[in-house]
């Protein structure tokens, strides 16, 4: 199915303003597309000015919904309070972070969290593959990762290095995950991390690195391992923030309900990982 379940309030009209994270955008777009079809009189608009840019507008009361790839920060909360913007936070999906190497890389079978930390921590001594494990080649390692202001970067550093935004700086950064894919593909000694969906689309040309978590188990990111939480620690939740004032508007309310009810299916459709059913239920209850 293409996800167009009955959208309920077909009589709704008005407009719904959404803005924020580029990571969350594909999901919201999918929802908006379907909702719009069912409610032609509602004008849903979705912008992509980044989580930070979205929150800026959201806390000023300019938006109905803000897409976010992280939770709201204290300073943003303060602004929201002072502008009398009250909101609800609804998690809507997971984004797995996949570690990949070049297809021609024959030596890497898995990496432990400790090894990843050793590679990525500030002042890291790792210059060649050999510096990670002595039996790996003495070829220089080329690192690829997302730009420093993305949610992925923040989450990865927190999970691996132990503190958000702590990272060695001398890796190839790019804002665009497709560009990272190209980078890893083009470099035999590369190692990179980026959103799971980008790996999935390019699975044939990349080699996925399983992660050995604390208790000796090795996991690769898949829909299942991310969803059930076993792909730890590299999956992060995505959110939408809904203004409570806006929720009073019937069109917004029905949109949000529609969003949460259809999130599972539509999330999969755009290659993100859905939450568990009960998590969606929890979200839905915040709206009602």
């Amino acid at each position: 199915g293409q996800g167009a379940k009955d959208a309920g309030a077909t009589k709704a009209s008005g407009s719904i303003k959404i803005d924020g994270s580029s990571t969350v955008f594909p999901i919201t777009e999918a929802v908006a597309e379907e909702f719009q079809k069912a409610n032609p009189n509602v004008k849903v608009t979705v912008g992509v000015s980044g989580t930070g840019g979205g929150f800026k507008k959201f806390v000023a009361g300019d938006l109905d919904i803000s897409n976010a790839s992280r939770t709201i920060k204290d300073a943003e909360k303060t602004q929201a309070t002072s502008n009398k913007v009250d909101y609800v936070e609804i998690p809507i999906a997971y984004d797995g972070i996949s570690i990949v190497v070049n297809k021609a890389n024959t030596w890497v079978d898995k990496l432990t969290v400790a090894e990843l930390k050793k590679i990525w921590e500030p002042n890291s001594k790792v210059k060649t593959w050999k510096d990670i494990r002595p039996n790996w080649p003495a070829e220089p390692i080329k690192l690829y990762g997302p730009g420093t202001d993305s949610g992925t970067f923040e989450y990865f550093t927190e999970a691996i290095v132990g503190e958000a935004k702590k990272s060695r700086p001398d890796y190839n950064q790019s804002e665009d995950d497709n560009v990272l894919v190209t980078g890893v593909k083009g470099d035999k000694n590369s190692l990179g991390y980026f959103g799971f969906s980008y790996y999935e689309e390019n699975a044939k040309e990349l080699k996925l690195v399983p992660i050995e978590t604390g208790n000796g188990k090795t996991v690769s990111p898949t829909m299942e391992t991310i969803k059930d939480g076993s792909y730890k620690p590299l999956s992060r939740p995505l959110f939408i923030y809904v203004s409570k004032t806006s929720l009073q508007k019937p069109e917004v309310k029905s949109f949000v309900k529609y969003y949460v009810e259809n999130a599972e299916e539509l999330t999969k459709a755009v290659h993100y990982v859905p939450l568990k059913k009960e998590e969606y239920q929890a979200g839905l209850s915040k709206v009602n």
Binding site: S21, S22, V48, S49, G50, T51, G52, G53, F55, K56, S69, R70, K73, A75, E76, Q79, P122, K142, G147, T148, D149, S150, G151, F153, E154, E163, A164, K165, K166, S167, P169, D170, Y171, N172, Q173, S174, E175, D176, V179, T182, G183, G186, D187
Partner: protein
């Protein structure tokens, strides 16, 4: 013919006599409202750019000052690392500055000579019909979305360059600057060509009649006479190169690094500004304020470039 002239003259005389009573040759200035209105309107137009500058400088200045409350100017100017979004934080503008210099310089090395040569070809060598076709075609290059250029650099130019120099990075300043150069090429070519075409033909004829070759006419007569326009085109093009983000972000990566090696990945000041303003960063935080400090630096940089250009123009201008 005489009759016609006479008749005409007679007509005029009667007309003149009737005119003379009402209006002498020397008339009091009527309240010249038209010129006043026009001048005022044009002045307002000019004020738009002034106000824009004031707006931009104000925005930059306020936030920059508040940025320097937290970060010392000395560290800003001497630190060699730029990691405001990292822990540990460093605010060494040099790392971004070198990226901007590298890209701008590279792009200029591509666009200025090629653009000027194209302009000379079009204005001095090409047939008028050829010119009328080629010029708009080249101008298409200015309208291609930069994201297209970015991917073209990454997926076409870089692999090509890597054939020559296999161990250059996938992200490198060279590929980005070549493509930025191509993007600004029409700016140089078109505007310079216009300036050259405006040089009166009689000047060219003067030189040709002395036995000058086309090249000599172009170099010694046309280019000097069109100098002001050429410099303006250069400045606009360089400015555009400095301001470019997308191509650089895609093809050169986003790695602030103090290096002048074009084979490495870099980040420019503008790319950084875009990255942060469209990212996750919470607006109003110190990290966010960095973009204004960077913007201010950029503003000062372009200001210096413009001063040099003005000086060049005044120094070498030839008026006809």
């Amino acid at each position: 013919m005489n009759e016609a002239v006479l008749k005409n003259a007679r007509n005029r005389s009667t007309q003149n006599q009737s005119q003379k009573k009402t209006s002498g040759i020397v008339q009091k200035k009527r309240m010249n409202r038209e010129d006043f209105v026009v001048k005022s309107i044009l002045f307002l137009c000019a004020m738009v750019s002034i106000l824009t500058t004031i707006g931009i400088v104000a925005v930059l200045l306020v936030e920059t000052l508040s940025f320097f409350k937290d970060v010392s100017l000395l560290a800003f100017l001497t630190d060699t690392k730029w990691t405001p979004l990292f822990k540990p934080e460093h605010f060494g503008i040099l790392a971004l500055l070198s990226g901007s210099v590298l890209i701008t310089l590279g792009a200029s090395l591509v666009a200025l000579p090629l653009g000027l040569m194209t302009a000379i070809y079009l204005s001095e060598y090409a047939d008028d019909r050829v010119r009328r076709v080629i010029k708009p075609i080249l101008e298409v290059l200015a309208g291609i979305p930069t994201i297209v250029y970015g991917y073209f650099a990454l997926t076409f130019v870089t692999p090509l360059l890597r054939v020559i120099s296999p161990d250059m990075g996938v992200f490198n300043a060279l590929s980005a600057s070549i493509v930025v150069g191509i993007m600004i090429l029409p700016m140089v070519a078109s505007l310079s060509e216009d300036a050259m075409v405006s040089v009166p033909k009689s000047l060219r004829n003067g030189a040709y009649s002395l036995g000058a070759t086309r090249l000599e006419v172009a170099r010694k007569v046309v280019v000097p006479a069109a100098f002001s326009g050429i410099i303006s085109s250069f400045v606009l093009a360089i400015s555009r190169a400095i301001g470019e983000t997308m191509i650089v972000t895609i093809a050169a990566g986003a790695t602030p690094k103090l290096t002048l090696n074009p084979l490495e990945s870099v980040q420019t000041m503008t790319a950084y500004i875009v990255q942060v303003s469209l990212g996750d960063i919470q607006h109003g935080s110190i990290e966010y304020k960095t973009i204004f400090a960077v913007g201010m630096t950029l503003f000062i940089l372009t200001f210096l470039i413009n001063l040099i250009a003005q000086w060049l123009k005044r120094r070498f201008k030839e008026e006809y």
